[in-house]
Amino acid sequence: METKNTELASRVAKFVNRFPDEWQDYQDWLRTIVSSQSWLQERYPAWQATLIFRWRLVYFVVYVASGIFFGRLRRKFQQTVDSVATRTQYRYSLQRIATLLAVVELTLCGIAALTGVMLAFYYQPTALGAHTSLKMIVDRVANGALIMSLHDVAGNGLILFSLIQIIVMFLGREFLLSWFIAWVSGISLTLTAMALSWTAIVLTWEQTGFWRFKIELNILGSLPLVGPILRDILSGGSGISSFTLQHMYMVHSYVLAIAAILISIAHLTALVLHEHHRQSDNPLPIELTDA
């Protein structure tokens, strides 16, 4: 029985020997198992000693084999991730997506601006006229409902796409000035789109918008030092009135809308310049340039 056990152990040794790294790590474990054989025979009956010895060998083989399997799997994964070609393609794809998203953002800005101008033809930024004028636009102006919906969808879409753009740009990051400008302008555009949405809350002069604005204005007013001043400037006095509407309308239409268009142009320009710089400075793999 002892000879059979030793043969089994030498077969295991031959198997593990095929993997030099694992053999270096675990050969002393196998030696201890073999050395423990005589020690087991002194203590236990022959059948029990054999059983324990073989169980130890099986455990050893399973442990080392799983180490080999998962180690190779990890190395393979690492190689794939680290592969320069893969990384270049991955970055390149993300940068192309970022440029496309910038085009989408600029288009949305354009749609929002165009429909905004159309709405401004009839909109009256006063407490008495705001809701009535919007209702009139929907009911009487040709394609009024469509223009309102487009303005709404474009504004919300701008927020959505600029948030997606931040994620895409983070994943495809590059240490170049053009990319840095695109990154900063992308974040600025997201903030501007959110500010546009916020200033539009009260413009419809409806119950939900009115009370939401009131609450958020009070939150703003509770900011230390600048809070009360900021609240008074935005609301144009102590309460929400026609002045508030005019202030919000002015900020929404003249300041933020123009800022959003300029930022989205700067954003797209920076990304296009970045692509140009990258293609001239760092040629892409053959399969990509061919494509």
Binding site: A9, V12, Q27, D28, S36, R56, L177
Partner: protein, 132 residues
């Protein structure tokens, strides 16, 4: 314009500061019961696998399973609590396997001391008297 050097400098500086901050804090010196008994067996001298098991068995205290010895030794080595070196003995005749000796490091001794200090602190702890 390549801004990578500036970025690299700032991140390297950040990493260095973070590592220093980590080094100032407690190093992870936690030990499982098995790891503690293995480290104790190595405290005074270097030993090989079977010798560790015999030392533990003959101490009459907590026993550890044969199969859990080497996985624990690997973990201790990865944590830097022990180091290993090949023995001078010739390879085993049937398998060709060599013997490895394990030796405790300074951090390993520190980990053991921390564990013992913790047990001492538990023993000496007294509840604060409230409302008496």
């Amino acid at each position: 314009m390549d801004i990578y050097p500036f970025f690299r400098y700032s991140t390297t500086l950040g990493q260095t500061l973070f590592q220093q901050w980590l080094a100032m804090g407690d190093r992870n010196l936690t030990l499982t019961p098995n790891q503690e008994i293995i480290l104790s067996a190595l405290r005074l001298r270097r030993r090989y696998g079977l010798e560790i098991i015999e030392a533990i068995e003959n101490s009459g205290g907590k026993q550890i399973g044969f199969n859990s010895l080497y996985p624990n030794l690997k973990k201790l080595e990865q944590k830097g609590f022990i180091t290993s070196e090949w023995g001078d003995e010739s390879p085993e005749e049937h398998t060709g396997a060599r013997r490895k000796y394990y030796r405790i490091t300074g951090i390993g001794i520190q980990a053991l001391d921390t564990k013992r200090q913790q047990l001492e602190d538990v023993a000496h702890w007294n509840p604060e008297l409230k409302g008496v």
